[in-house]
């Protein structure tokens, strides 16, 4: 068994920042929360920032002249600056607030897609994608006749890069839209290299960063990503807000998504003109308090240091893979620890994943079970459902031990001893 990394993070202090962690979910069963890939918990710094906003500064943004509206606007736009710095966007105008990763991808499909893609054009996805990066393109395929191609997943849980190169070579691909980190396999895809190849082939690249932005430093300029989508609720931030990053030239040339207040420049009964970026894509009253919360989450993660977060998580995940692989009858999915991040997904003999999750819950251990919004990947894996333990900066090796113990208990209930 490996020794814990010497992490500069004080995990006990970090855990104390997350009020939800200190509870028993059943009598005598303290919460062991291993479901952060679905949605992370929030530190009090984030919860407090939103409370403070509502108690001191709230008003509608942008059009108000009074003090509260000035403060609300500064808070909302200040959050945009923080996100810009966090992902190293060139301009704050490239940061568009949306509801979640799903909306970010839908915006690109519906606006860039409809404006730039014609029947027969190819959009390249992968077999490991989340439904949120499949269905928007399927809708577009139906509406526009775009053809979807899929980068295969190898038996080792990696993208087949030879097939990727061939797909880029064989057909005129207009856009590649692929996840940075898999929410099921944990696979860290070599996104920088893939972007380079896509650009060389004349294709744009959308990075689904839902599972990477919370865990590793993502630099859109270094990656040269054309679009990046992510959700605040998976990165210690609130529900109800996410980000679409896009290169300015691309966003400028795209038609708007929704119509309404704030996104217009002028409106007459005969027609309208659009506001500048990012407002062109932010119709109606935005999620102001949630932007404030996201800004606070960015501050929180930045203060911890993304490298430190990653190092700590890697340690816990490695330990989890090690311990889980000892459990008789347990099958682990995905690549080895070096090529993965954040999650450990498994099945136990022919037990249904829901039964596993239910029995773990009885021991206070929260994992997710099901298809994790990746039905096609599960079809490929040959199982309808898997159980997934996922980790964030507040998780510990001791919690991995609790997980493993609970799994042994589940085996017993089902007579697998």
């Amino acid at each position: 068994m490996k020794q814990p990394l010497k992490s500069p993070l004080d995990i006990d202090a970090i855990r104390a920042d997350f009020p939800i962690l200190a509870q028993e979910v059943h009598p005598g069963k303290p919460l062991v929360f291993l479901d952060s890939a679905a949605s992370s918990q929030k530190p009090r710094q984030v919860i407090e920032a939103m409370r403070r906003y509502y108690e001191h500064d709230h008003a509608n943004v942008h059009r108000g002249i009074h003090v509260l509206s000035e403060r609300a606007t500064a808070a909302y736009e200040g959050a945009r600056d923080k996100v810009q710095a966090f992902i190293n966007a060139r301009s704050r105008r490239e940061v568009i607030f949306v509801r979640n990763t799903t909306e970010a991808i839908n915006v690109v499909a519906a606006t860039w897609g409809r404006a730039n893609l014609r029947a027969g054009d190819v959009v390249l996805l992968s077999e490991m994608e989340h439904h949120s990066n499949l269905v928007p393109w399927q809708l577009l395929a139906e509406q526009v006749g775009v053809r979807l191609r899929y980068i295969p997943v190898t038996g080792a849980g990696l993208l087949d890069l030879d097939a990727y190169a061939a797909l880029l070579r064989d057909e005129p691909v207009k856009l590649v839209s692929v996840m940075h980190v898999s929410n099921v396999l944990g696979t860290v895809n070599p996104i920088a290299e893939m972007i380079r190849q896509a650009h060389a082939a004349g294709a744009l690249f959308l990075v689904d960063g839902a599972q990477s932005v919370p865990h590793v430093a993502v630099d859109v300029q270094a990656l040269d990503a054309d679009f990046l989508a992510f959700s605040a609720h998976k990165m210690a931030g609130p529900t109800g807000i996410g980000v679409l990053y896009g290169k300015r030239e691309l966003l400028e040339a795209m038609p708007p998504y929704m119509g309404g207040g704030d996104m217009i420049r002028t409106v007459t009964l005969e027609g309208s003109t659009w506001n500048d970026l990012p407002y062109k894509f932010e119709a109606g009253t935005p999620a102001i308090a949630q932007a404030v919360g996201l800004g606070a989450a960015v501050d929180y993660l930045t203060a911890l240091g993304m490298e430190n977060i990653l190092a700590h998580e890697q340690d816990v995940v490695e330990y989890a893979l090690e311990r889980l692989s000892e459990v008789p009858g347990l099958t682990l999915y995905g690549p080895p620890a070096e090529q993965r991040n954040g999650v450990a997904t498994f099945t136990l003999r022919d037990l249904h994943a829901h039964d596993i999750a239910q029995l773990l819950d009885a021991e206070g251990v929260a994992v997710r079970a099901g298809h994790h919004c990746a039905m096609p990947l599960h079809r490929k894996l040959g199982v309808p459902a898997t159980a997934r333990a996922s980790f964030y900066v507040y998780n510990t090796r001791a919690e991995v031990d609790a997980l493993v113990e609970a799994i042994y208990n589940a085996r017993k209930v089902f007579g697998l001893v």
């Binding site: 829901h354 039964d355 239910q358 099901g370 309808p384």
Partner: protein, 133 residues
């Protein structure tokens, strides 16, 4: 853990009337629980008195959904169509004999939902209205 009582695990592991769908069948319907992916295909044949003579179902899902299908399938035998239509969510819960949270209730009720749809037309069954997804 109460949810996994012996009889539930038994029905889950040794489902009764499990197998290839009947063809032809008087009742034939399949559906899934969209949130978890559990799937159920239920078929049944009536005898000349209009009573269920044979039940056959297949599907995949958690122990709760499989055990419910197994138990409900057994309970269907000998019943008239009219009697099938009167099966209630409480009947299913009574067969299982356990308490369920709203999410797991969906698992337990998938079999009933498929039965109602097959025997009645789903839209007439409003039992789903009062639970949460």
């Amino acid at each position: 853990m109460d949810m996994y009582m012996e009889n539930i695990i038994d029905h889950g592991q040794n489902p009764r009337n499990f197998g290839e769908p009947l063809q032809p069948a008087d009742i034939d319907y399949e559906d899934e629980n969209p949130f978890c992916g559990d799937h159920l295909h239920l078929t049944a044949r009536l005898d000349e008195q209009g009573r269920v003579a044979e039940v056959r179902w297949e599907g995949h899902g958690c122990t709760i959904s499989q055990a419910s299908a197994s138990m409900l399938g057994e309970a269907m035998l000998g019943k008239t169509l009219e009697e099938l239509r009167h099966f209630s969510r409480q009947d299913v819960l009574d067969m299982l004999g356990i308490q369920l949270s709203p999410t797991r209730l969906k698992c337990a009720l998938l079999a009933l939902k498929v039965l109602k749809a097959g025997a009645y037309g789903l839209t007439d069954w409003t039992g789903e209205e009062d639970e949460h997804a």
